[in-house]
Symmetry: C4
Subunit: 257 residues, 4 copies
């Protein structure tokens, strides 16, 4: 393997498929969204993507087997006459600049072979959400952007960089005159953020005209809120003890001088 | 996109064109100069340059659209019989050593296709300017250097490195027997430095026999001088408070020992 | 040399050979195991592997000669009718991500040319051993894993990454439908760990149906245990003196405030 | 320029030439030696080597011209019937691992075209010299090593790495069955070390049967010894003031606690 390569498991034909990409990144939002959709929609494996630009280790799987780091394509057939869907998620992003471009190219090449009509990429935007995490959209053309805003997204602030595969797929798609839109959601991004993922899913379901059960996600949100609460308490204690130390230092100084 | 590539928007013929390069660098001088010229001369888009050696993110534009990082070529037709001009500026420079060489090669290849006769590159030189920022010139041959000095530049100090695209374009041009000159201007380089850019523009206008309105630039200079003034005040306060702390430390020591 | 290359010293035919890889890594376990086997079994040189992805220096050898960093293949003919063996060890691993993939590919290509039937890779697993260092196995298929467990290895914990050549060989072998197994042994990994190597050798000998004399290794184990003992004493002293310093600091603080 | 390239200035035929390489490195020893030989022997320019793996800047030369970083080949015709000489020195070494291998390959390819019979590489060895800096030799074969030892060099300690071009040229030469020897000299290596260079020159002149005037070098040695003397004085002062500070700290502690 000298270059990124995609190995197709099945040779199938899909109806006007839409590619939805969500790789690990800020708050793991993209990965949570895509995995949630795949699980609820019972998506089937379509292909694997391997790259010499992924980190140089393999993972041990549950059954004592191993595998290279990879990204996976899954597909879902839309029985209601709408677009079929292709999902892309994986273990990691490429580790070097040139690798990032090569992997994004390989994804687009595969998408074009599958006759993909539209591309949706998903990521996080480092910003503390006030209440419900806001979803921001940017797109390769006006029509795509309009659809995204109608589905509940906000206009992405200008100048904002979209880093990694979620961004490069859009940029390279534009050069190829492919329709693509990116959804970024507010997240602190330090921990997996299922609440931010839920905001994206609301927009996505509306835009795609599909509906999936989010009860499983709600349980994860409850769990993650408990974890955040615990971390806040620990942080508070750390700050208090630090303030105390500072005070002692100041008293030392004023006593001596 | 596996290599740096230039996508031409228009297929036009230019008259003995001169290429003027100004990419982001010290004090953003090169970029300010080229953007000022492009704006005042109403230059038209000629081509875009994309590279897998640029950083791996895309930018969101004002209208919610996105684009890959790129460099842009614009052109201006000289109605007075002199040389036409090609401008090159962009978002960033290549991120790796090999990328720097590849991008500079791609620029030169495109310049040769446009039948470019001369290349001018622009950058900053880290040195506090006494009064008016001095402009230093170096060139691929004596005749070019003489013209630059006649236009008001100083001889560049020997041994001085010219880093990045501004330098590599000259070095590679020399191997191809192309005429090229580099102008570096004194700048502290931490902030965008429109005053340094103005010094370069004075030399450039004389050398090229063109004249552009610099009123807009003068406004930016006034603004940047206000910002510098504010930063100086903050710096002064920081230094005073640091001196005070040192004095306290010394008194502690002398008291105790 | 623009790419990794294997230079064969002898053009020989081997009987259903098994490739055993042990390169420098955690606790040098892989290298110790393979060198022990090679020495006891009087293996003969088969080929050298050189790579522009190894570090850019050469080593001076005992006779004042020099050599590039390399990996070496040796072979052993099994006179009892079982599989012949090919050993792979060397000076270092590749220094970059892409280099790691390229070198692993070159090893597999050479293995396929030698008609290798099975691949065994060896490494360390950062974990303090309770008593006897445990050996963990993972494999490209169930049959291989079963044989490894029967020979005394444990099931490798899921999610565990196998870093470097030991891991990539397995991952890439799986893509090529080659049988491969990886043995990782518990080791602190800071110092060469012959005791951990012995645990691996016990499993290996059982799995391969061969027997080698481990007296030399036992001597090294005794030596390394003495070194560890000394380091523990030094660590203990360091900790005691640090505690004393902390106590003085605390007393200062409580006196003053 | 996508790869390292050598541009020959003259197409000449040399008599059994010996290549002597000395690039910037520890104590600049190699560069000083080769430049001293070139100057005293009035060597003429043979070729330039450029590489996209050198740092991405150009240098301004004395006459306001510029040039890419490069290595230069010069030659000297031996009128006494002995070997002609080719000298290689330059601005810098390659900046990446793969670049180091590529540049060393390009040098060897050019050397083979010139029908080079022997290669001598020069560098520093980080060790404080007792009196006269010792010269250590290692070689690709026994005959070369013997000649080096007869010329006054010591056997290089085993296991010692030879880093960079001086090392890789030897390692790659060995793969091509070319004769090569490396001389490393003791040097602290922080400053240019003309005294260490003189030790190498003594060995080289004996081995090559040539003689050059070293008066110029003696002046540089005198100058560098004065600089070292000054640095020692400054170091001494720094250490004294540091001891004083430590003492004050200790007194504070004992006073307070």
């Amino acid at each position: 393997m000298k270059e990124t390569m995609v190995i197709a498991k099945e040779n199938i034909e899909l109806k006007d498929p839409v590619l939805i990409e969500g790789l690990p990144g800020l708050g793991m939002v993209g990965k949570i969204v895509v995995e949630q959709l795949m699980k609820q929609m019972k998506a089937k494996k379509l292909a694997d993507l391997y790259s010499p630009h992924f980190a140089y280790y393999v993972l041990v799987t549950d059954d004592g087997s191993i595998r290279l780091l990879r990204s996976e394509f899954h597909y879902w057939r839309n029985e209601d006459g709408g677009n079929d869907l292709i999902f892309l998620t994986g273990d990691s992003q490429a580790q070097t600049i040139e690798g990032q471009y090569e992997v994004a190219n390989a994804i687009l090449d595969f998408a074009e072979k599958q006759d993909v009509k539209r591309i949706i990429t998903i990521g996080g935007y480092r910003e503390e959400a006030k209440d419900e995490p806001q979803v921001f959209a940017s797109a390769t053309n006006e029509a795509m952007l309009k659809r995204a805003l109608e589905a509940g997204a906000q206009n992405s602030p200008a100048g904002n960089p979209i880093v990694g595969t979620a961004g490069l797929l859009l940029g390279l798609a534009k050069l190829k005159d492919l329709d693509a839109v990116c959804f970024l959601v507010e997240t602190l991004g330090y921990l997996p953020d299922p609440k931010a993922a839920k905001s994206i899913l609301a927009v996505l379901m509306k835009m795609l005209g599909v509906k999936v059960d989010l009860k499983g996600l709600d349980k994860e949100i409850a769990k993650s809120e408990q974890i955040e609460e615990k971390i806040k308490v620990i942080e508070e204690q750390r700050r208090t003890s630090e303030k105390r130390r500072h005070k002692i230092e100041e008293e030392k100084t004023s006593y001596i001088s």
